[in-house]
């Protein structure tokens, strides 16, 4: 068991495309990701770069979350790839690596993600609603993208950005 510090921007690893995972390190990294997620209140997902490891792995668990519809329980995936996406909506996100700010982000409402489990077997999951959003957020971390890279509006989408003349 190892709970590791969650890095905050501007740690360089957060803005780098994560490297392929070394199979020898995969198991320990995945354990640390889950331990750190479990130890962080209200945390539903964590990606390798957030604990300082440039490796393509993340964990996620939306069990019991009020906005979740689909729920795949604990998901730990290595080399995840989004194979399909559908729909989109805007919702406000925050990130443990960017504390104190939130932003509205447009994301697909349904996704299918394929990857490997820590023991090396293939796993494919489909998710919608909050779980789909969490998957996209975590996979973005593996590409060096933070939610600020995807912000779609300043505040609520209620005020049109119209010009008066």
């Amino acid at each position: 068991m190892a709970v590791r510090p969650v890095l905050r921007y501007p740690a360089a690893v957060l803005k780098a495309v994560a490297l392929p995972i070394d199979p020898a390190d995969a198991e320990q990294l995945c354990v640390d990701l889950v331990d750190t997620m479990r130890a962080s209140p209200a945390c539903v997902g964590l990606a390798g770069p957030q604990i300082g490891v440039s490796a393509r792995a993340f964990c996620m668990d939306v069990t019991g979350h009020k906005k979740a519809n689909s729920c795949n329980g604990l998901v730990v995936l290595i080399d995840p790839v989004i194979k399909a996406r559908a729909g989109n909506d805007v919702s406000r996100e925050g990130c443990m690596s960017l504390p104190d700010i939130t932003g509205n982000v447009r994301r697909a409402t349904e996704v299918t993600v394929r990857g490997l489990t820590p023991d090396g077997s293939a796993r494919e999951i489909t998710a919608d609603a909050f779980e789909a959003r969490a998957l996209q957020h975590e996979i973005d971390h593996l590409d060096g993208l933070l939610f600020l890279d995807r912000v779609s509006s300043l505040t609520a989408d209620l005020f049109p950005r119209k010009r008066y003349r």
Binding site: K67, S91, E93, R133, A134, T155, F159, P160, Y164, R165
Partner: protein, 176 residues
């Protein structure tokens, strides 16, 4: 030293560039700021860190030129360097909308103040031409231990008295 800089004038391209250029030239650093078009006017409020030796008067003089050219009303005043208060309560969003009438902002904000609720963001807008609808959105911080249900009820009651709709919801930013 920090100064609060405000500028308001008829909206046109180039206002931000002109003001920020002046700030850059005096060695100022724009920290927190908000800028928006309000009713056809461009309004900006900026907290600016000035280097040692720079002063308010110098900045006021430097702003006079773009202000004259762009018809801006500008102000500069020193502010405390004390760091921003860190919100410890729970963030909520209040939406108020309905037919426009005097007193909406005052009555809603007074109820919030009475409950020691801090407003962190507020915007109002009049939308529609035939039957204008007044829309106000607030982000607020409830103090620790506040009775959210009671505050929500108090706002609803005011909404009924004013004949406007009021929604009061936890700000559901999800930390992922």
């Amino acid at each position: 030293m920090h100064v609060a800089v405000t500028a308001v004038g008829p909206d046109r391209p180039g206002i931000v560039a002109a003001v920020s250029h002046v700030l850059y030239d005096v060695g100022g650093n724009i920290e927190d700021s908000r800028m928006a078009i309000l009713g056809g006017h461009f309004a900006m409020v900026l907290i600016v860190a000035l280097p040692d030796g720079a002063d308010q008067k110098e900045l006021e003089r430097a702003l006079a030129e773009p202000a004259g050219k762009l018809e801006l009303i500008t102000t500069v005043r020193p502010v405390d360097d004390s760091p921003a208060l860190h919100a410890e309560g729970s963030p909520y969003v209040v939406s108020v909308y309905g037919a426009d009438k005097p007193g909406i902002v005052w009555q809603i904000s007074e109820a919030l103040a009475a409950a020691n609720v801090n407003i962190s963001d507020l915007a109002t807008h009049v939308v529609g031409d035939q039957e204008p609808v007044y829309v106000m959105i607030l982000e607020v911080d409830l103090p620790p231990g506040a009775d959210a249900e009671a505050i929500g009820m108090a706002l609803k009651v005011i909404g009924e008295e004013l004949g406007v709709d009021v929604a009061f919801n936890p700000m559901d930013a999800e930390t992922l």
